[in-house]
């Protein structure tokens, strides 16, 4: 068996000698590290493929990625970056060994793929997202044929590879035919500008499935009046915002004009910003919280999803850049099972990152600028942290619970530990999470995500549905977890110690949030009830004094009724002084077990006020004149019991 390194070296040499008239042809080979069927496509959505390609650009230190399509026709798609580009060796390695990426290996540095001092970093020092080199072959989800045009800085030529992927056949396995993942043709082409660098991937002959998905074809078909539905089927309507669609019979013709949340003259950033605003503005227009599924077509949803997944900046601020001026209540969660969330006060311009020493913001700054554009629309993380949707709610401020941990895994044998684990996280509470797809927890590993929001909060076992629906959470993993990610980066290996630790940490953080939120809610509710009760008492007092004024016989000095609870007060002597004094238990119903809620407790308090008011009116009318105190007490108690009567 020929040594793989030697094979890569030979191919690299052949590429060096090639030109357009003498290209090199090579069979694609998969590494034994991955299944050979990888190129059949392991991803479910077109966004997964684009996410992988964008991640590759990030790993290649690109500062800009441009994706172009001819939406809504989708006959073409290109992904262009200004990253480091492929050397002959790196390209040869890609072709000879799919899934045997030199990333995260020592050979990666000699190929210009990884950092000289640390194979977990890109040459420019970014933490690598990709690990085994199958990302590029995510394009198999979109097409079976593509071209790579790549150039490294200082090189006087481009490398061009034309790749065609095959479909796996069980027949070949049975008949013993050696399975080929695909084939490639590679050549060199002279470059004018030695300084330039970058990689462009052109997807050729996009699969009909891809085109249909990107153009939301099913949605359009089902919204047609003449579409035949089975009894009971509900026809889908096109989403509110969409890119339109072309005629099936003539793809050059627009059949439905787009309905977009932006106008053409908007800047790339403004377009994305307006899309977010359009979704948020739907809040309150119907009983349900806005859902991306209802509002956006597949293409716009793809932009949204990519914004959540790839390492682009937040549309406004990073959550750890929330400062005192934002009026958001900040709590810090602890890492022990008995920890309680502790409220943190921020000075006006002081950020969470500064106060608590969060690294995520700094690490993203170190990774540097990374701008991604899809058809003139710049992608951002579509998450906003403000006090929206709170006007109707008891709690008038959003809450953010932040925490960090360098996991202590010492009690796990080193061999079983899976390396170190370090992360930071937040749970952002607001009464309505918009859109609903943002409910849950999203785990970013090295600034990237493939799993989106998990609304079960990693299967949090306690029934807290209301609170779960009000939380958006992100966990920024700075170290570890890579090995807990499955090969498609869209699911986790639940048995990995890092995943298990993170789960426990999240449960603990959620518990701390729920406890703090409950007590905050209770305190806020009590404050509000007391305020309401005080307002009501003032009104009642005003009513009584108004009524008393109307009584002709009323004496100038209004009669004051006093209800006392202290047992030591001598009622008789007070009464002898001419005061209307009653013991609470002699005129009020005995405290009942039904007063369990705050509201009912306050009802009890208010009953006392009402009895006092009635007594003052009765006394002012002279009803109590010549009436013994015992009878007065009996009368008032009877009235109180009637007022308090409840079936």
């Amino acid at each position: 068996m020929i040594d793989k390194t030697e094979q890569i070296h030979d191919l690299a040499e052949k590429i060096r000698e090639s030109d357009i008239q003498h290209p090199v042809e090579e069979i694609l080979q998969t590494s034994e590290r991955v299944l050979k069927r990888i190129t059949d496509g392991i991803y479910r959505q077109p966004s997964s493929a684009l996410r992988e390609l964008i991640s590759n650009s990030y790993d290649a230190d690109a500062t800009k990625v441009i994706i172009e399509t001819d939406s809504p026709r989708f006959n073409r798609m290109t992904i262009r970056d200004n990253g480091n580009g492929f050397t002959e060796e790196a390209l040869a390695s890609l072709i000879c060994s799919i899934g045997g990426s030199p990333k995260r290996t020592y050979s990666g540095s000699s190929m210009g793929v990884t950092n000289k001092n640390n194979s977990d970093l890109s040459p420019g020092g970014r933490r690598l997202i990709g690990k085994i080199g199958i990302g590029l072959f995510a394009v198999a989800q979109l097409t079976k044929e593509f071209k790579i045009i790549t150039k490294t800085k200082g090189s006087d030529h481009h490398l061009i590879a034309h790749v065609i992927l095959h479909a796996h056949s069980e027949e070949d396995v049975k008949t013993g035919v050696k399975y080929e993942t695909g084939k490639s043709r590679i050549w060199k082409q002279k470059a004018d500008d030695k300084k330039s660098q970058g990689t462009e991937i052109i997807l050729l002959n996009l699969l009909p499935k891809t085109k249909n998905e990107l153009s939301s074809k099913d949605r359009w078909l089902q919204s047609q009046d003449n579409f035949i539905l089975d009894e009971g089927d509900k026809p889908l309507s096109p989403p509110k915002y969409h890119i339109g669609c072309v005629l099936k019979s003539d793809e050059n013709k627009i059949y439905k004009k787009p309905s977009l949340p932006w106008v053409n003259s908007d800047s790339s950033m403004k377009k994305f910003e307006k899309m977010i605003k359009a979704v948020i503005d739907e809040t309150g227009l119907s009983a349900q919280n806005p859902k991306l599924e209802d509002l956006l077509d597949n293409y716009l949803k793809l932009l949204w999803t990519l914004g959540l997944q790839v390492p682009v900046p937040y549309i406004k601020n990073h959550p750890f850049e929330i400062n005192g001026n934002d009026n958001i209540f900040v709590y810090r969660v602890g890492n022990n099972s008995n920890s309680k969330a502790e409220k943190i006060e921020l000075a006006k311009r002081e950020t969470i990152a500064q106060k608590i020493g969060m690294e995520a913001v700094g690490l993203e700054k170190i990774a540097g600028k990374f701008d991604v554009f899809v058809d003139d629309i710049q992608l951002f993380r579509p998450l906003l942290f403000n006090n929206e949707h709170l006007s109707e709610h008891t709690i008038k401020n959003s809450l953010i619970f932040v925490g960090k941990d360098n996991a202590n895994l010492n009690n796990i044998p080193k061999e079983m530990r899976g390396g170190e684990l370090a992360f930071e996280a937040y749970l952002f509470w607001q009464p309505k999470v918009v859109p609903v797809e943002h409910r849950g927890v999203l785990i970013r590993i090295n600034n990237s995500n493939g799993t989106l929001f998990d609304e079960t909060f990693m299967k949090y076992p306690i029934s807290e549905q209301t609170r779960k629906n009000q939380i958006t959470a992100e966990i920024y993993v700075h170290e570890g977890m890579d090995a807990a990610l499955n090969i498609d980066r869209e699911s986790f290996n639940y048995s990995h110690p890092h995943y298990q630790y993170l789960t426990k940490w999240l449960y603990n953080a959620f518990r701390q949030f729920a406890t703090a939120h409950k007590s905050l809610g209770q305190a806020k509710r009590q404050d509000r009830l007391l305020l309401d009760a005080s307002k009501k008492s003032n009104k009642l007092e005003a009513l009584v004094s108004e009524k008393i004024k109307c009584i002709k016989s009323a004496i100038d000095e209004p009669i004051k009724i006093e209800i006392i609870r202290e047992p030591c007060v001598n009622i008789s002597s007070e009464r002898k002084k001419g005061r209307f004094v009653y013991k609470a238990d002699s005129i009020l119903p005995s405290p009942s077990s039904k007063r369990t809620t705050d509201r009912k407790l306050l009802d009890g308090l208010f009953l006392e006020k009402k009895i006092k008011a009635i007594a003052e009116i009765l006394a002012s009318y002279g009803v109590f004149d010549n009436m013994p105190f015992e009878s007065q007490e009996g009368l008032l108690k009877a009235i109180a019991e009637i007022l308090d009567f409840e079936e």
Binding site: P23, I149, I164, R185, L207, N212
Partner: protein, 407 residues
Amino acid sequence: MSDNHTDDSLSAEISPVGYKYGFEEEQPQGQDYLPWHKPRKQWLRYNQWCSAIRTIRPQLRLHERPLSYLSLPGDELLDFRVITNLCGELGVKVKLVGFNDCRSSSNSNSKLVVAKNEVFANDSVFENSDVHPDDFKKISDVDSMAYKFAEQKGPYDVINLDLCGSFSGANQQESYYKATLNLMDLQIQRKIEPWLFLLTTRADKDKVNPADYPLFWRNVRENVAQSTNFKKSIEEHFLATECGMISDPWRHAGQLSSPYFEKLFGLFLGKWLLKIVQTSQRWSMRLLDSYWYRTNHSAGNNPNMLSLAFLFEPIPARLEDPSGLVGAEGLPPAAPDEVSQAIDILNKMNGLCDIDLHLHQNKPELEDAIVKSEELLRKAGYNVASYRQWAMNALPIFSDQQLTITN
């Protein structure tokens, strides 16, 4: 009942329609020299196109936004390269928008992709630059993908239709006329600053659709009736033939010999654009320095290719007092009327510079154009060792009579 499928509908839409497995033959980069590689074309790129852009540049807010440039750049993006270079010199960014009628899997695509890769990597190039794989003429249909693309990327500071053939054509559904009209409509709706329409077109008689003649002539006949200057000038410079004056040139087009026909076609194109822009009442149009040259290099041939530069300018809002209480004195001058603009076009069309002859008589400029062409072609991947020889052989031959008339 047989299990064999006679209907393949179940397997439809699994593979792209008409997909053929295998590698296509790639076209090598920089092989044969083509007509647009001639030195005169490079001279025009620099001295007509770039000069026109320099003219309008002070009136464009290019400190806030990129120069927006639409063209038909071909696979080598030669004009994109020159305009990018110019913008680099001017210190402004450029948004390059192209139409190129080639399928994504066609042979020429790798060539285009490498060219795009190189040009778009330039710091002066704005990120949303793009080349759309459609025929420009498809803009004729406002429901087309091509129109959508043009609309999305527009409006433009420069529209450059550098055609190998003629702007005139038989297909009324999809034509350069209709596509240009639709594009002008977008421009006039959305632009507030001056913009350029650069047009290179064949103008010989057999390249112009005879069905267009009466419509063209109707536009001009109005001016003949309105202005004696116009009438005098058109008769003197365009319609005088050896057989006497032609009263209705299109009815007797056969009598119009080269180069009268070509110049008239240029005038009519100018008039066509002017009439359109007049309907907006907000724009004026004038012809900047324009040129012509010949596609046939044999001795004695006249120019048959027009290279025209039209400048569209917004007409400033201007109030007048219709009651006459305030006289017109001291008010800003009114925009020139249609006839004046038409006369201007007519005079400039009459004075078109024959760029072949100009370079024949100005060797240093020819040499400069050759050097610049070599440089441009080298950037496009050509081995330019044989270029000078090719360029010299491709220079037109002038008859003594042609040289004498000029002298």
